[in-house]
């Protein structure tokens, strides 16, 4: 895992002091709220419905136990005892007081964390595959490059006042778990015909009110050109992106206006000028960062653990959790544990301070001190010996963290919605809670199988509704909360934007509507089909019929 050197420590400490001074100037009235706004936004501090909200960066979602314990401390000391893990692999605190924020940031800095560029029109916290380094299908650990990009983009003097926010995701595996097609820039690692590893560069993807699937701007980019190519894209975007309308300011709209070919030509021209120069990324530098992500010292496990096997046979709950929430690590004898932050009836992605402490303890004792936050708002322990799984499960279970629903119908992505967010049309969290209650029966969950239900409280799509098998979008109908359903979205290799299925449903009707869709799917699917397979085969008709009656066709 990446560890700060003196250099990183200095920049983060100085940034805290700088912000302390900015807050002091705001509190004294030397800065107006208008003048303070861009400054606090550069540090992840939003003004929400009831209070300030602080978003803390968890670069590419990876953290160590000490950092997780600090998040628990912050939840206790500056918040109301909990935090909310987000779809961007970060954590948000909903109740800090402005005057406390500098101290909070100083606490974060003491464990190599910060809130830099978690908001504002800058290059946001870079995201990566949450199974990087442990999945057996990857070319390289995507976090190496995410860290290199993090450093290059942090406090970038030229790109801190872009037309709009800018998100970059990196995937190192052929199976895309980082949704690279839905980011402003997606980097998909590829091997060229000479066997060299580089990146396919995708550009202009995004969700929000105008969902767009990214297009490939370059089939193969050598690693050493990574930063110069990114800089060329950002420079062209910074100069040409629209500044007259925030809804048209993302790079996806610029691409629509210029066309991919012209945009690519401008980027290539600028890149030709700067490549091989200041931003050339030498192998030494890549290797220096790579060393931080070296695999842990695994034990050689020869025989499957007998006690573990026996526990699975004798303890049904444990077995179910192993089936659903544990994936094979590429190292034999180890598993990837998915800790669900979606217990039935709770707010997706929320964790209490005590839960964070317990997860940190488990990571320290059983997973080489390392944790990951996923964009599905769960937590991953990447390297747990199978022999330790039963102990880990028992401790998770005691803390209410052993819900065996990873990837299933109640593993719902939901944004904060109307309970917190001042842009919301409708509540998201209670809808997620009610759906998880409806699908609480583990046998039923298992029968339905893998399915993605994503909920956003408004068109900004923070809950990624466009890419859910079932997407739920909060809309406002004459002052009432309504929910529009989209079906067939896919965030990954078969990137697809969900299709609106028909008229929206009221808050009271929405859970029944979801039940209808899922029952329809159960009825019409063929063996082995996933929801998107069925959807692609049948199209909307059977779902429309059951939802709205045959008259609607």
């Amino acid at each position: 895992m990446y560890r700060y050197d003196q250099f990183d420590h200095t920049i983060v400490r100085e940034r805290v002091n700088q912000f302390r001074d900015q807050v002091a100037r705001r509190l004294s009235g030397a800065l107006t709220e208008d003048e303070f706004r861009p400054l606090r936004l550069m540090n992840g501090l939003y003004l929400q419905l009831h209070a300030y909200m602080l978003r803390v960066a968890i670069p590419y979602g990876t953290l160590w136990s000490k950092q997780m314990r600090m998040l628990a401390h912050i939840a206790r000391r500056y918040d109301r005892g909990y935090g909310h893990f987000t779809t961007r692999q970060n954590i948000q605190f909903n109740w800090p007081k402005l005057e406390d924020v500098p101290d909070l940031l100083a606490d974060l800095a003491s464990v190599e964390m910060h809130a830099i560029q978690t908001s504002g029109n800058s290059i946001r916290n870079v995201t990566a595959d949450h199974f990087a380094g442990v999945a057996d299908d990857e070319l390289e650990d995507s976090r190496i490059y995410a860290e290199i990009i993090r450093q290059w983009s942090t406090l970038h003097p030229e790109f801190s006042f872009l037309p709009r926010k800018f998100k970059i995701a990196v995937s190192g595996a052929p199976t895309d778990r980082a949704a690279v097609r839905f980011h402003d820039i997606g980097l998909q690692m590829r091997q060229n015909i000479r066997g060299e590893v580089g990146f396919e560069v995708l550009v202009g993807g995004g969700q929000g009110r105008t969902p767009v699937i990214a297009e490939t701007i370059r089939d193969f980019l050598p690693k050493r050109d990574l930063l110069s190519y990114l800089e060329a894209i950002l420079r062209v975007y910074n100069m040409l992106g629209r500044r007259d309308n925030i809804y048209k300011a993302r790079i996806k709209i610029l691409l629509k206006e210029t066309g991919l070919d012209r945009f690519a030509a401008l980027v290539e021209e600028e890149w030709e000028r700067i490549r091989g120069g200041a931003l050339d990324l030498p192998l030494d530098e890549i290797n220096r960062i790579r060393a931080y992500f070296a695999p842990p010292r695994y034990e050689l496990v020869v025989d499957p653990d007998a006690a573990y096997q026996a526990a699975r046979r004798s303890d049904r709950e444990f077995d179910r959790w192993c089936v659903n929430n544990v994936l094979p690590n590429k190292q034999p004898g180890y598993g990837i544990v998915n800790i669900s932050l979606k217990p039935v009836g709770k707010a997706p992605g929320d964790a209490t301070a005590d839960q964070m402490d317990i997860i940190a303890d488990l990571a320290e004792a059983f997973s080489f001190d390392e944790l990951r936050v996923t964009h599905k708002q769960n937590i991953v322990l990447g390297h747990v010996r199978l022999a330790d799984l039963h102990t880990v499960w028992q401790q998770l279970d005691a803390a209410g963290l052993a819900t065996a629903n990873f990837g299933l119908a109640s593993d719902i992505i939901a944004c904060p919605g109307l309970d917190y967010c001042n842009l919301a049309n409708a509540r998201s969290i209670p809808v997620a809670q009610r759906i998880s209650e409806r699908f609480a029966d583990p046998e039923r969950l298992a029968r339905i199988g893998a399915i993605r239900i994503n909920i956003s409280g408004c068109i900004n799509a923070c809950g990624h509704h466009h890419v859910g098998d079932i997407g739920i979008l909060g809309v406002d109908r004459r002052g009432e909360e309504y929910y529009q359903i989209t079906l067939g979205g896919d965030p990954a290799d078969n990137a697809t934007i969900g299709e609106i299925i028909g008229p929206s449903f009221s808050y009271d009707e929405i859970v029944d509507a979801i039940e209808t869709i899922i029952s329809t799917y159960e009825t019409i699917r063929k063996p082995e089909e996933t929801f998107s397979d069925t959807w692609r085969r049948t199209g909307a008709t059977p779902f429309k019929e059951t939802l709205y009656g045959p008259a609607h066709n």
Binding site: T10, N121, L155, P157
Partner: protein, 173 residues
Amino acid sequence: MALLITDQLIEDYWHLLEDGAEITKSDNNIVSVERWQRDRDELIPRCGQLGILLKSNEPPDLIEDDIYHFNVICLDFPKFTDGRAYSYARLLREKYRFTGELRAVGNVLRDQLAFMRRCGINAFEIPDDANVENWSAAFNEISIRYQGANDNANVVRPDAATVAGDVAGNWSY
């Protein structure tokens, strides 16, 4: 408006020639791109020095062949959130090799100064009542750079030794 260069207030001996105003022989005039394109032949042979103002929608390639005529190029920030001129500054320094005074005008705020300077801007029009010491301190709040920009153009991760003070005033003025 006062003019901040390095960490001092300098008397501004330039003046902005309004598009309709009469061209004088000896003043140091800053003109708009439009005026430059219209009255080029009249502006060049004067004995006063010449500067140009790029609005935020006027990229430097508009004047790419003429850059050597100008001692000052002003970059307008109509709102501090409009960051186009940061890229213009870098292009002017690094692509067009402009070595004269690059001046930020418009909505120039204290907390943007350091970014501007890192992009190659070396003069700043700031409010008359600004406290110079306080504004100058803004340059040094962050001493470390993660990325090469105009101030340290040769490294991916510049050496920690490159602190802000070392690169102040790189350009002869």
